[in-house]
């Protein structure tokens, strides 16, 4: 049994009087895929925002590979190896596909002003190796997209944008990937394709753990080994998909009851 990569204990977030996360305990082991489900407003995205340092927890602890995430800036959390996608795509639409993917590769790029202005031949080598790398990554999702690396991200369809966003999150080879509703706005067929491509990438990155927020139950069933169910900021069930789907509380809270 491998170590917990991410562990939350008693994690709470409040917005004024609203309790968005209520003493949440959660563990993600290295290499695991955890599905996170629950009705709208149950705290799933809030959890992502706490893990990535956008929100501050009011109580409890969140640890990533032994480091306490409280007090870490989003930048340091990224550098530690956590990346994410957003529920509503947050690409830089006027920028090219390559630019968007490279935003995700920030920690591997040289940012010195002198280097960027005056050591152009070294920058060029860095640019070329990164272009080859980004192209290869994008090509695992779509060869057509990989052929249009310098077109603006805004020129592409929803599924392509989602692919770009996932590539942006994967390019730095993170240890933990947080996917916030990757299927939103896509057809079943498109979602299926995207998940297959994602699993293909994961097979090349054995240490990668994924937490995926999803409303499409067939996605959860197919890709997740375990899933956790949130309701009103509390975890009401955890286990395999079959286990949680059979849980009476989950059925009432989420899947609907007669």
């Amino acid at each position: 049994m491998s170590e917990a990569l991410l562990s939350c204990s008693g994690l709470s977030v409040r917005f004024g009087g609203l309790v968005a996360l209520d003493a949440l305990d959660l563990e993600v082991r290295s290499g695991a895929i955890l599905g996170l489900i629950g009705p709208n407003g149950s705290g799933k995205t809030t959890l992502f925002n706490v893990i990535t340092g956008i929100y501050r927890a009011a109580g409890g602890r969140a640890q990533f590979s032994g480091q306490d995430l409280a007090g870490m800036t989003p930048q340091r959390i990224y550098a530690a190896g956590v990346t994410r996608t957003f529920q509503r795509s947050r690409l830089a639409l006027p920028l090219s596909v390559f630019d968007n993917v490279m935003i995700g590769n920030h920690r591997r790029l040289h940012h010195g002003l002198w280097f960027n202005l005056f050591r152009r031949s070294e920058l060029r080598r860095e640019f070329e190796s990164n272009l080859a790398k980004a192209r290869a990554l994008v090509a695992t999702f779509s060869a057509r997209l990989a052929g249009r690396m310098f077109d603006a991200a805004g020129a592409f369809s929803m599924i392509d944008r989602r692919r770009i966003e996932i590539c942006r999150a994967l390019v730095s080879e993170p240890r933990l990937l947080l996917l916030d509703e990757p299927s939103a706005g896509m057809t079943h067929e498109e979602t299926r394709e995207l998940m297959d491509d994602l699993l293909a990438v994961r097979s090349r990155l054995p240490g990668l753990s994924i937490v995926i927020i999803e409303h499409e139950m067939n996605v959860i069933e197919r890709v997740c080994e375990r899933c956790a169910v949130l309701n009103y900021g509390r975890k009401i069930a955890e286990g395999s998909y079959a286990q949680v789907a059979a849980d009476r509380q989950v059925q009432i809270a989420y899947l609907g009851t007669e």
Partner: protein, 369 residues
Amino acid sequence: MSVLPGIASIAAMALYAAFFLHAESQAQVLGLVALGVVGVPVLARVGWIARTATSLEAHPLAARSASVAALAVIIALFHDQHFVMLMLASVLLYSVACLGLTVQFGYAGVVNFAGAAFLGVGGYTSAVFGPHVPHALVLLIGGGLAALVGSILILPILRTRGHYAALITVAFGILFRTFVEVNDALGGPQGLQVKGMNLFGWELNSPLRDLSFYANYVFVGLALAAAAFVLVRRLERSWVGLSLDAVRLDETAAAVFGIDVARWKILAFTCGNFFAGIAGAAYAMMTGFVAPNSFTFGDSLILVSIVLLGGLGSAWGVPLAAGIVLIVPEKLQALQEYRFLLYAMLVIVILLARPQGLIARPAREYFPK
């Protein structure tokens, strides 16, 4: 993409500029303005401007050489006319400042409605240090002091966004003007005299042969503008440019991918003010004086309107828009105060036809062929 559309457009613009600068009567000037007002939307509609832009992007060396050649022709034609040479030098020096604003506003999204104040810091630097320090150094000190004075604003700008950050810069601009106006050591409302530029023994205020002495400032302005242009282009075409764009477009997404939003805003703001300070120092040496009334909120708006009219983030758009914004009102002198009305209408018409600005910023190519 052929180089021809780009070269043809530069030649046409040079010809237009030559006629415009040459035009004596108000009828000629108004005729040329009308031609521009009708011509630009038509050229935009048939796709000529886009073709020009792609052509110039594809052949950077040809584009730069043709622009310099066009400038050389105009200098040759008007070499002894003070007014034209002063205008050209102003356009070039304003381009330096506006390229700085492009880094701030166009790339990092840090609005600066106090551009004139940073020009002013450079100008007053020339007045105070000019008599004692070599002038090449004075230009650098002007830039450095502008960057330093700008650092006062960094904290409030980092803590606010959008309109609020803009308002802070507006307030700072007014503050600067009031400060120099009431400060007797800096000449108060009358301002200070500034000595003409002397670069390594070359006295710019003594004319070369039959050239206007302002032509010397055109040469220096061209050198500064070319340097600023190359630096800004290189900055854009690098990981730094990418980070600045990421900060402008979505600060939260940028932060989640490790981009230090504050660092890049500070860098862009400081670089931009540095450029403005250098431009202001050179400009003051050219005009021979600095006074609070040259650095009003209205002057800051002129800088911002050059950046917007040229196309936000577009380096080529800056000198073009600076030419329009600075020269058109001067040539409409006979209309007296109405000239600003006409000029404002002109800017509105252009932006209606070209909401992205005259030359929209092209997609980033790190190493164009």
